[in-house]
């Protein structure tokens, strides 16, 4: 439905159809409500227009009517809420085995790096049928990553990671917009998402002449910065052993427990004393200002690579339940 309708955005992801279905439902409901109210007003305005000798009939009101037209809309609203919440929950829960793309936004461009290594500016190449998770941060102000064809949007904030995900379904070239006002050339901060058939994508990927995967560059950076001195792969180090830590709960010195996600790793590199792991001392130097956003992404990707891939079905590692949506 509406596939070639000129005033309708293309649908190019698994999530887009869900959003459109709810939107069409809401359009129909709104059209019905508008027509009902406009028709009533029109009928009353003609039937009860002021005429000589005809007085208005005074009517106090009706509690039964008031309750009816409060309860019924409320019930409809709750149905819309639940439907919308289900879609949102799905949109906000990336599949665990999604391939990852790190996004750094800055005034006024998008810098992207695939976990396999290739970097892109204002362009994102992805294959059809693969779950892609975006791990995004900003170097300056707030931006927003918006691909209308996928019906996804997520603000990109300085100082933390936000995530979004999609699975493209249709090859083509789609708009990538910055949708959060970010200064002079906000409207120039646009790019494109190029969705390709898997063979073409593989060809594109191998044609780039890359320097190795993101995790690999993270590993050399990890060595370079001297991290392994303390973060040894046994229990003897002065810092916690990082092997297998990603996605697991970490016991902190002050008794709290946090999940070691991307934001936690990021914070632990930039300002290590913010959350000290139980049993360790706050001796790690601060890396705020010493590593850039892209180096940070590489380090995070490396530390994540130290944890066994969740694809194998590691029990107890799960961050969030896998969405129950049918995949095409």
């Amino acid at each position: 439905m509406f596939d070639n309708f000129p005033l309708w955005p293309v649908r190019a992801s698994t999530g887009a159809g869900n959003v459109d279905a709810l939107y069409i439902f809401l359009l129909a409901l709104s059209a019905f409500m508008c027509l009902a109210i406009f028709a009533m007003i029109l009928i009353f305005a003609t039937r009860y227009r002021r005429r000589r000798g005809v007085e208005a009939e005074q009517i106090e009101g009706s509690t039964a009517l008031e309750i009816t037209w409060s309860i019924i809309p409320m019930a409809i609203f709750m149905a819309i809420f639940v439907w919308g919440a289900v879609i949102y929950f799905h949109e906000r829960t990336p599949p665990r085995d999604a391939s990852e793309v790190y996004v750094v936004a800055k005034q006024w461009m998008w810098k992207l790096q695939h976990q396999e290594g290739p970097r892109e500016i204002n362009e994102l190449h992805v294959p059809v049928g693969r779950d892609v998770k975006l791990i995004m941060t900003s170097q300056d102000v707030i931006h927003s990553f918006y691909v209308p064809a996928f019906r996804i949007k997520q603000d990109v904030l300085p100082g933390r990671y936000t995530t979004a995900w999609f699975r493209a379904t249709r090859p083509g070239v789609y708009h990538l917009f910055c949708s959060q006002y970010c200064g002079t050339m906000h409207s120039g901060m646009i790019g494109q998402v190029v969705v390709m058939e898997p063979p073409q994508y593989e060809a594109w990927l191998s044609g780039g002449g890359t320097t190795g995967s993101l995790a690999a560059s993270g590993e050399s950076l990890f060595q370079q910065l001297g991290c392994p001195t303390c973060h040894r792969s046994d229990t003897q180090g002065r810092g916690p052993n990082l092997v297998g830590i990603f996605g697991k709960p970490v016991q902190l010195e002050d008794g709290r427990t946090v999940i070691a996600d991307e934001n936690y790793i990021r914070e632990s590199i930039l300002s290590p004393s913010a959350k000290i792991v139980s049993g360790f001392k706050p001796i790690m130097p601060v890396f705020q200002g010493l590593v850039g956003e892209e180096q940070l992404n590489a380090l995070v990707a490396y530390i994540k690579s130290l944890s066994p891939s969740p694809v194998g079905g590691q029990a107890g590692v799960s961050l969030a339940p896998k969405p129950q949506y049918p995949k095409e």
């Binding site: 309708w8 955005p9 959003v19 709810l22 939107y23 809401l26 709104s30 409500m33 508008c34 009533m40 007003i41 009353f44 305005a45 009860y48 227009r49 002021r50 005429r51 005809v54 007085e55 208005a56 009939e57 005074q58 009517i59 009101g61 009706s62 009517l65 008031e66 037209w69 409060s70 809309p73 409320m74 609203f77 809420f81 439907w83 919308g84 919440a85 879609i87 949102y88 929950f89 005034q107 707030i142 927003s144 918006y146 209308p148 019906r151 949007k153 997520q154 603000d155 904030l157 300085p158 100082g159 936000t162 910055c178 949708s179 959060q180 006002y181 200064g183 050339m185 906000h186 409207s187």
Partner: protein
């Protein structure tokens, strides 16, 4: 009372004193209302001028009329002027100021000098803001999002922030004055259940102004401090949190939507009652829905932040609360519609605006359901869909209410009738121009056109051209009333005390009212909207 007044000699608030001092030092709520009327009209046309430039720039996909930086300043200042210097004060400070004491049978507001002070604060804020515009302007959007506003913008953010900070106190003082007046100054017999719904809605509005505006003041002050003194409050590189700003900002700015729309609903109730010649259907429910809106309105702010990076579960809670606040708004629409049933309806200019209000507010409200819905909001957030939605509420709703109210009470304010034919024409132009301007923007939004874009991909052009075309019609519709209102002050037909045959104490005094409102202190022995006891006069046309 019903005799034709000998207006030439009779003393009233307009001719009691003459001269500039008698206006600038007045404590008469009616004169202060007119001071506000003149000042907000000035700002309305400044904001409108910015809007026209925006629409002209968007006529073509390329950024060609103005520079990118200029465009960013235009939409920022359009928003700030229209919201803080026109819409927030519009109905409360003009019609509310004029009518609240009249409607409850008081001589003036509780604190006449504070009332004048609030106008001066507004003017100080206005002068600072004009200075800001003239010396370079501000480009943060009306939302001042951090860290852009505190660390990146090179424009006059501090000045704009201070201007709005001061304007906020003007709003707080007006709210305070109304709350105290409504509690303490009602005439004998004017019980709470006999209050016009206009008063109930203004009471609710005043509560929001009192409780919400200080939060905006604090937030803007923090922005100014961060920018001026490098404090780390919102900027993450200085240890701040940019989302904290958004929470604080929307904690005021969502309820502010109700500061703008509740008074328009107030006007709506009076006009619909008068021109159907009926008591408003479900008086208690309409009155209480205003209070419910004021209360629930404070609990929904984060629905502006569904894609901002808040947690999934807080998004769920704010979505469901947003639907709760939709119910009292729906109740009002149903009750106004039901009031028309078996009424005696005439199509005067105020009533045309009232019809327009119901239609546009209904569409604005229904599209609000889309935005409160998490799954849809992700796609349409920060697109033209949002722009269209809030213009349906604030222009289709609040401005239509304001214009309708101005026409309705113009005979009382000026003692003259406006020309009815021109009035109807302007109302129709506003309605048509408005829809042509903003309806295409819903479609643009769902197609994915982001807001605040100086240049845009060519596939969005056709709808933008339609929108720009509509805005010129809208402009004509707005200029017309200003012209014929001014004309009518000298040449308009002399109005009698109650040209519409309306219920309400304000119509029981002369037009224009004497300085202390009533020659004899009124005592109320009847319920509100006792239309069965009031004959409809010749001014109200009989339909064939």
């Amino acid at each position: 009372m019903a005799t034709v007044a000998v207006t030439a000699e009779r003393e009233h608030y307009l001719n009691k004193e003459y001269g500039i001092r008698s206006w600038l030092l007045t404590t008469d709520h009616k004169r202060i209302a007119l001071l506000y009327l003149a000042s907000i009209t000035f700002f309305f046309f400044i904001g409108g001028f910015f809007a026209l430039l925006i629409r002209l720039e968007l006529l073509t996909p390329a950024g060609d009329l103005v520079q990118a930086d200029t465009y960013n300043k235009l939409f920022s200042m359009h928003g700030q002027v229209m919201i803080f210097f026109f819409l927030i004060p519009s109905i409360p400070a003009v019609l509310g100021n004029f009518l609240v004491p009249l409607m409850i049978g008081a001589k003036d507001l509780a604190f006449p000098r504070i009332n004048l002070l609030s106008w001066y604060l507004y003017m100080i804020a206005g002068v600072i803001y004009i200075h800001c515009i003239v010396y370079g302007g501000v480009d943060t959007g009306w939302t001042f999002y951090t860290p852009f506003s505190t660390a990146f913008s090179n424009t006059r953010v501090i000045e704009a922030g201070i201007a709005i900070f001061i304007a906020g106190f003007s709003s707080i003082l007006t709210g305070l004055n109304f709350v105290v007046t409504i509690h303490r100054m009602r005439a004998p017999g004017m019980t709470w259940s006999r209050l016009p719904l206009f008063i109930w809605a203004h009471y609710a509005t005043s509560i929001i102004q009192l409780l919400g505006t200080p939060v905006l003041a604090v937030t803007l002050l923090l922005v100014v401090f961060e920018r001026a003194f490098n404090l780390g409050i919102f900027d993450p590189t200085r240890g701040g949190d940019p989302l904290l700003f958004q929470h604080l900002f929307w904690f005021y700015s969502h309820p502010a939507v109700y500061i703008m729309i509740l008074p328009a609903m107030a006007v709506e109730s009076e006009v619909v009652a008068c021109f159907t010649r009926k008591r408003i259907f479900g008086y208690n429910f309409v009155a209480m829905s205003s209070i419910a809106i004021a209360v629930f309105g404070f609990l929904v702010w984060a629905h502006h932040m569904f894609v901002a990076g808040i947690s999934l579960y807080s998004a769920l809670i704010f979505s469901i609360l947003s639907y709760l606040v939709a119910v009292p708004s729906a109740i009002k629409v149903f009750n106004w519609t039901a009031t028309m049933y078996k009424g005696s309806i005439s199509f005067t200019t105020p009533m045309l605006y009232a019809f327009g209000f119901i239609g546009l507010f209904t569409m604005g409200g229904l599209t609000g359901l889309f935005l409160a819905c998490l799954g849809i909001d992700v796609h349409v957030h920060d697109t033209y869909f949002v722009i269209a939605h809030f213009h349906y509420i604030m222009v289709g709703g609040a401005v239509m209410g304001y214009l309708g109210g101005l026409h309705f009470w113009w005979p009382k304010i000026s003692g003259r009738m406006y020309p009815e034919g021109w009035g109807r024409l302007a109302a129709l132009l506003v309605f048509a121009g408005f829809n042509l301007t903003f309806f295409p923007q819903f479609i643009l939004g769902y197609m994915g056109m982001p807001r605040r874009y100086w240049q845009y991909p060519p596939e969005f052009q056709v709808l933008n051209v339609l929108s720009t075309a509509g805005s010129t019609i809208l402009a004509v519709g707005y200029v017309l009333p200003m012209v014929y209102f001014l004309w009518s002050m000298r040449y308009g037909k002399i109005a009698n005390d109650n040209p519409w045959g309306a219920a309400g104490l304000e119509w029981k005094t002369s037009s224009p009212p004497p300085t202390f409102n009533f020659d004899e202190a009124p005592e109320v022995t009847w319920e509100a909207y006792n239309y069965e006891e009031i004959p409809a006069p010749a001014e109200v046309p009989v339909e064939r």
